[in-house]
Symmetry: C2
Subunit: 206 residues, 2 copies
Amino acid sequence: MNQEYPSILLERAVSEFAKLPGVGRKTALRFVLHLLRQDDRYVQQFTQAVSKLKEEVRYCCNCHNISDTELCPICADPRRDRSTVCVVENIRDVMAIEATQQYRGVYHVLGGIISPMDGIGPSDLTISLLDERLQQGDIKEVVLALNGSMEGDMTCHYLYRKLLPHKVLVSEIARGISVGDELQYADEVTLGRSIIHRVPFEGANN
Amino acid sequence: MNQEYPSILLERAVSEFAKLPGVGRKTALRFVLHLLRQDDRYVQQFTQAVSKLKEEVRYCCNCHNISDTELCPICADPRRDRSTVCVVENIRDVMAIEATQQYRGVYHVLGGIISPMDGIGPSDLTISLLDERLQQGDIKEVVLALNGSMEGDMTCHYLYRKLLPHKVLVSEIARGISVGDELQYADEVTLGRSIIHRVPFEGANN
């Protein structure tokens, strides 16, 4: 370990924080100095919340979202449409879609996306669980709602091939120009896709 | 607790991370999901490094910098000039000044600056320890190297009054235009100070 600080304890704590995504050593040191300034109870609360989550976290047995109950509140809600399953990467995306209040189906949380660069393959995700859900036969549509990155596209294609034998409708969320955005600033791929996937004008209904 | 997530454990961990300086709830969730993806040992290492630092951290008995030894490496170094003491807010500033390789004296780490807004008064800092060091009589100059904020200025003025009876030379680091900066973009206060505190041209020596 390349020791930069006059204390190995400090060095270790900074190194651990610097492993967090988007955190460099300067920010990590800022976090550590902040924690050092707080009282013992505060720091105890911090570390306990993290260990407790890691040790006791549970996932919904149906959609694999993080949940304190065996069936998450969304899967347990009788008003949700169980024939439509939206496949997302993680709980953040569930929350983002829920915030729109436009989706009444249920979810399937993959727990990541296929990314050979990070050593994440299909077996690291909950794809076999999705397979099991489809074998039960109640599902009519699977909506792929993954990030528009290369890894997201790769995962979509993989899932599409996996889903073919189940004879369900496979859809994906629409890509296009953001509401309120100016065309001239949109990237060409997005603008191109938004023209190819144009939809009937709904002005009369709004 | 306003529960936004489907898990109280997740909620708690996110709330703890969101208390860190500059971390909002979205970033906190990103950190927490990152930790959840890692194996148990990784998370254990993380929480242990934090608790261990908090429980076992030691401060140099002379300058109050974080140190694993009773006397920090800088205070213990016989080549350092003990008659010059540079007063800084925290270990980050010690490291920043050390990185310049322009200072051969020793330090005094305040552990913060006077900030009535945050409830930090002179008694929360190591000012009485600085007083004790000065009473030993070996110190000839005290260099104030605090941030140029309102709180930094307030602390400088407080320290100056405290230091007066000791009859030591009190200096402060020079404020001015950064090396390489263009004058037209400098703020007026800094530019003004850099004119008032102009120094003899050293071009011939460089």
